[in-house]
């Protein structure tokens, strides 16, 4: 691909990079999508697939609004993908639960929600705190240990592996040049264009959008940007396919459209994606059985660990470079939830050449400077 010129080079072929590439191609840009190989860290293949709203934004009220914007756009976004590819990513938005297994957990939950919704400038939406019998009306299979739950009608989920495949099918159909095994080593700016150097040659583009997950930390300084990251490991337990019993996703447990139950919301300070901490898996399984006792004898068919893309404060980063005009960085933990925003809102901004401050100014990495000074 050396010598080819593109309007924009997107670095990172995960959910953020693929969604952004699709959005850029829809704006008529010639897009190169540079990805690593299948043996590299693939955060987008290990995620839990929630399109989640409740409890997001404590500490940065704008994040709640940004999340709801994407959640509201998700239905239309999945329809567009289906029209273009014929593939159904199975987006469902029945509302979602966060279950509490003790009074203490329920109080902690209520306290978080109270502080979240009391923040100045927070978007107005409802998350209800329900007791056991109220939860049981919607989730009849909960166990006696479930004390209560929070419920938000805006929460949903998708089939995220199919989302990944669908996005890649869609960008291929729109003529995006997908370049696997193109790990970007360095980025330079010469003669008004960006040159992305890889072991497989150089890719030249007028603009560059960094969507490389935790690797943005390494790449962003090359174009005058910054992306302070704090990777985190999560583990997931997957059961055999079961007849549908769960009509709503729970933040730690959901039944996919094809019947498997995914369990997991663990957090470990680790960057090793290759191992499993068995104690973490067993704790996840034990809590799942207390939440839904009918899972007690179900067979587990897979467990895995994956690295979460996580900024240092957990909120997204969207920035454009002052020293290197045309360079943008996108980092976020919630690549599934925010997928619709990246495709339909952020990509058009990059195509125009400037981020819309009214929408994304709160997500500039400049916020970290304030914290460092304080």
């Amino acid at each position: 691909m050396a010598g080819d010129e593109f309007d924009v080079a997107v670095v990172g072929g995960g959910l953020v990079g693929a969604a952004t590439s699709w959005g850029l191609a829809r704006e008529g840009l010639r897009v190169a999508l540079l990805d690593e190989g299948d043996r590299d860290v693939r955060a987008s293949r290990g995620n839990f697939a929630l399109v989640w709203v409740q409890s997001k934004g404590l500490g940065l009220a704008a994040y709640a609004g940004w999340t709801i914007r994407s959640s509201n756009a998700w239905g239309g976004f999945s329809d567009l993908l289906k029209q273009e590819t014929g593939l159904d990513v199975c987006f469902q938005r029945p509302g979602g639960f966060h279950l509490a297994l003790s009074e203490k957990e329920l109080e902690a939950r209520a306290s978080i929600l109270k502080r979240l919704h009391a923040q100045p400038g927070i978007v107005d939406y409802k998350t209800e705190v329900l007791d056991h019998s109220q939860v049981a009306r919607m989730l009849p299979d909960i166990g006696p240990d479930v004390v209560g739950a929070s419920y938000c009608s805006l929460d949903g989920h998708v089939n995220s592996l199919r989302l990944f495949r669908t996005l890649h099918t869609a960008i291929n159909a729109r003529g995006v040049t997908y370049l696997p095994s193109h790990r970007v080593e360095t980025i330079t700016r010469e003669g008004g264009e960006f040159r992305l150097h890889t072991a497989k040659g150089e890719v030249r583009a007028a603009k560059v959008a960094l969507a490389a997950g935790n690797a943005n930390m390494r790449l962003a300084p090359m174009v005058g940007l910054e992306a302070p990251m704090r990777p985190e490991r999560g583990q997931i337990v997957v059961t055999e396919r079961l007849r549908p019993f769960l009509d709503y996703p729970v933040v730690t447990l959901r039944q996919t459209d094809e019947g498997t139950v995914m369990i997991g919301d663990s957090k470990e300070e680790s960057t090793d994606p290759s191992g499993l901490t068995i104690g973490v898996s067993s704790t996840e399984a034990e809590r799942a059985v207390r939440q839904f006792p009918l899972l007690a004898n179900v067979n587990v068919v897979r467990t895995w660990s994956a690295i979460r893309v996580m900024t240092q404060d957990g909120f997204p980063i969207y920035d454009e470079s002052e020293s290197h005009p045309g360079a943008f960085v996108l980092c976020c933990h919630s690549g599934v939830t925010l997928c619709a925003n990246h495709a339909l809102t952020v990509a058009p901004m990059i195509a125009r050449g400037a981020l819309d401050k009214a929408l994304v100014a709160p997500f500039s990495a400049r916020r970290f400077h304030v914290q460092a000074a304080g």
């Binding site: 299979d141 055999e240 396919r241 079961l242 007849r243 019993f245 094809e258 019947g259 139950v261 839904f292 006792p293 009918l294 899972l295 004898n297 179900v298 067979n299």
Partner: protein, 97 residues
Amino acid sequence: MFKRLDDTGATVSLKVDGKPIRARAGDTVAGAMLAAGVEHFRTTPVTESPRAPYCLMGVCFDCLVAIDGVGSRQACLIEVREGMAVETQLGKREAGR
């Protein structure tokens, strides 16, 4: 389809989908079902296509059946017992059984 080469030894009676079959002590559930002429042990969870044992050594999971009320047991790894109730498994297993 299958014929026993050695049909000696103690007899064990079990039921498959409510129908009595006769097995030999030491048979696996899968062996007994195949010898009794059962061709399909289950249908797959998503496309519901019929399946029968493939590897007969615990690897392929195509012989899953419900045994005494517990679903998704590997018929090729479990020995027959007198009075055992086996059910072929159609589509997805029901959680809780």
